[in-house]
Amino acid sequence: MDRIEVSNLNRQFLFRLQDVGKPKAEVAAKRVMERVSGVNIVPHFCRIEDKDLDFYNDFSIIVLGLDSIEARSYINAVACSFLEYDSEENPQEETIKPMVDGGTEGFKGHARVIMPGVTPCFECTIWLFPPQVKFPLCTLAETPRTAAHCIEYAHLIKWDEVHSGKTFDPDDPEHMKWVYSEAVKRAELFGIPGVTYSLTQGVVKNIIPAIASTNAIISAACALETLKIASGCSKTLSNYLTYNGVEGLHTKVTEFARDKDCLVCGPGVLIELDTSVTLQKFIDLLEEHPKLLISKASVTHRGKSLYMQAPPVLEEMTRSNLSLPLFDIMDKTAKDIVHVTGTTINKGTKTSCLRKLRVVFKGIDGVTDMDTAGGA
């Protein structure tokens, strides 16, 4: 959904100054098609969550150029949702949707290949991404020691004190200038050097430094892995490459292991239901389920929307299903995979999530205790 900014131009060969303000996806698609004949690129200027599962299922490989943990987590859940396991709990090869992911910061970067069910998914190794450092409020309010402390004081405390109710907009230059001048005053008061406008922007907007060459290295690694998966011309990276060029040159491949209990790339959380349970009851249950805690759930089964929270047209069309037994609207299937999207609370913040669930109806022929043993 990003639009081109002037600060993108130092590392993009697809964007020009006159493109600033236009959607990145559209300009990139146009430029590549102009340069390379015979290639067809369809840009989609939207949020990744706006596309339904079927959209993503149409692709053989998903390559991620994402910039946040939340977005990676979401697409990872999408790719893993297609994964099905056979009766011996082995992943079925034709349901594996490979993902290639990359990211950079300054002189450092990583590239990885995810084969859901075979190599660790993003969620299996979520611990690789430590939470962002946040300054304790008492430090900001009472004992600032660095320029960043002064900036965050102006941004998080002083802004609200002065502008009651008005939200701070990091893209509004007037707002940023105000925070900067307040930070300068604060820094003078405590005799702290180093507050600049550039640093103010960096701290407030959490700007990640970026250069063309690191991006080139990481995107080349991603492109190469994608080509290898698509063509089978060589074996692929297994499964995590790190690059560090700050001091000398270090590249390292780590073979991370899967988390056997992963909720995302595992066989799915097992939910046992009576055949009489209605869709509404099922949705309520998802909110209480300790492993899920999904509110405002939309439910799909085999590509068919059973209930959609949005857009309003779809909500209205599917609303009548709420009072029907889930068993009936799942075509009386004894056990099957159901996909649920909604919001969940992750470390105190609301995030979009997608979960694959194994729904099993009690007392139906063909379901034995053996099938459900060892599940959730």
Binding site: L9, N10, G191, A216
Partner: protein, 362 residues
């Protein structure tokens, strides 16, 4: 033209205005502008390198390239010379002395050795880059590189709970640093006087910067390419040949050199033409064994798989590999020019099969 401060914001946060000024002052020469060369250049043009001179003998591409690169960044000056780099190295060695740095891509061994000598003598920084199938290398060559690294010291220890004490301590440190600068400055002036140079020829700013970064002073040294090729450091070579982590990388190192010998003997690279594969495999094997024995590793050979793989590459310059090699090369160019980050030492061997690339110190 975009406001440079905004356009370069994301990189100014890394190397600052001083680093950016160094890039803008630099004059770069690129030899061969195929995939590896153009991928290297692209990253430098985007970052705002001062001027580029491209030497390439192939007609059609050069004109197109000019437009493409200039569209990327109108602040960069560019010159395109239609000539074969090998011929230029042979006939006009003094040509290279005008540049800050030369990037030599896809050169054969003979030209590498010659260019290395030329650049050393003229005190011009040099970097080699080559892509070959799923492998390739990057190697820096210069006399000596002295760096004063950018220092980032931050203290976020939670035990420092009283800001006032912390700031007072900072002031004490600052005062001490200032008095140290004065001492060093006095010494510098004395030394300059002693050796008969103008005592003010080194500015106070330079001395201050030097003192500020002295803690992280680094020196990198690079062997002559010719020395590495003729007499690689034996203990290192033996270690790589027997260490499993290095086996593929050192195998590629030997084979990347063997293909040039092969080409000199047979006028084509192994596997370059269909129908000669079986013959090429056995010829490459013989060439590699010969090279190993010249390097003092008698009786050693490489695995059949690796030799087959090298022949399968057929000297192709795969674009994704060229982009990786070019990315590494441009990164090192930036480090050599901004002088704030330690450049790599040794020969980087890219392994595009499983990405277990290695740096070899030979």
């Amino acid at each position: 033209m975009a406001e440079p401060k905004i356009k370069y914001d994301r990189q100014l946060r890394i190397w600052g205005e001083k680093g950016q000024a160094a890039l803008e002052k630099a004059s770069i020469c690129l030899l061969n502008c195929g995939p590896t060369g153009s991928e290297t250049l692209k990253n430098l043009v985007l970052g705002g390198i001062g001027s580029i001179t491209v030497i390439d003998g192939s007609k059609v591409e050069v004109g197109d390239l000019g437009n493409n690169f200039m569209e990327l960044n109108d602040a960069v000056k560019a010159k395109f010379i239609e000539e074969y780099p090998d011929a230029l190295i042979e006939t006009n060695p003094s040509f290279f002395s005008q540049f800050t740095l030369v990037i030599a891509t896809q050169l054969g061994e003979d030209s590498m050795v010659k260019l290395d000598r030329i650049c050393r003598e003229a005190n011009v920084k040099l970097i080699f880059a080559r892509s070959y199938g799923l492998t390739g290398f990057v190697r820096i060559s210069l006399k000596v590189c002295v760096l004063t690294l950018k220092l980032v010291i931050e203290m976020f220890s939670p035990s420092w709970h009283s800001g006032k004490h912390y700031v007072n301590l900072q002031k004490i440190y600052q005062a001490k640093a200032e008095s140290d600068v004065l001492v060093i400055e006095q010494r510098v002036r004395n030394i300059l006087k002693k050796i008969g140079r103008d005592p003010d020829s080194i500015s106070k700013t330079s001395i201050r910067t030097f003192c500020k970064n002295a803690r992280k002073l680094t020196i990198c040294r690079y062997r002559l390419i010719e020395d590495e090729f003729n007499s690689p450091i034996q203990p290192e070579l033996q270690k790589y040949l027997t260490d499993e982590d290095y086996s593929l990388a050192v195998g590629f190192y030997i084979l990347l050199r063997a293909v040039d010998r092969f080409a000199a003997n047979y006028n084509s690279f192994p596997g370059q033409f269909d129908g000669e594969m079986d013959e090429d495999i056995s010829r490459l094997k013989t060439t590699a064994v010969g090279l190993l024995s010249d390097l003092g590793c008698n009786g050693l050979t490489l695995t059949e798989d690796l030799i087959n793989e090298m022949c399968r590459f057929g000297a192709a310059e795969l674009h994704a590999v060229a982009a990786f090699i070019g990315g590494i090369a441009s990164q090192e160019v930036i480090k050599l020019i901004t002088k704030q980050f330690v450049p790599m030492c040794g020969t980087f061997i890219f392994n595009g099969i499983d990405h277990k690339s290695q740096l070899l110190s030979l």
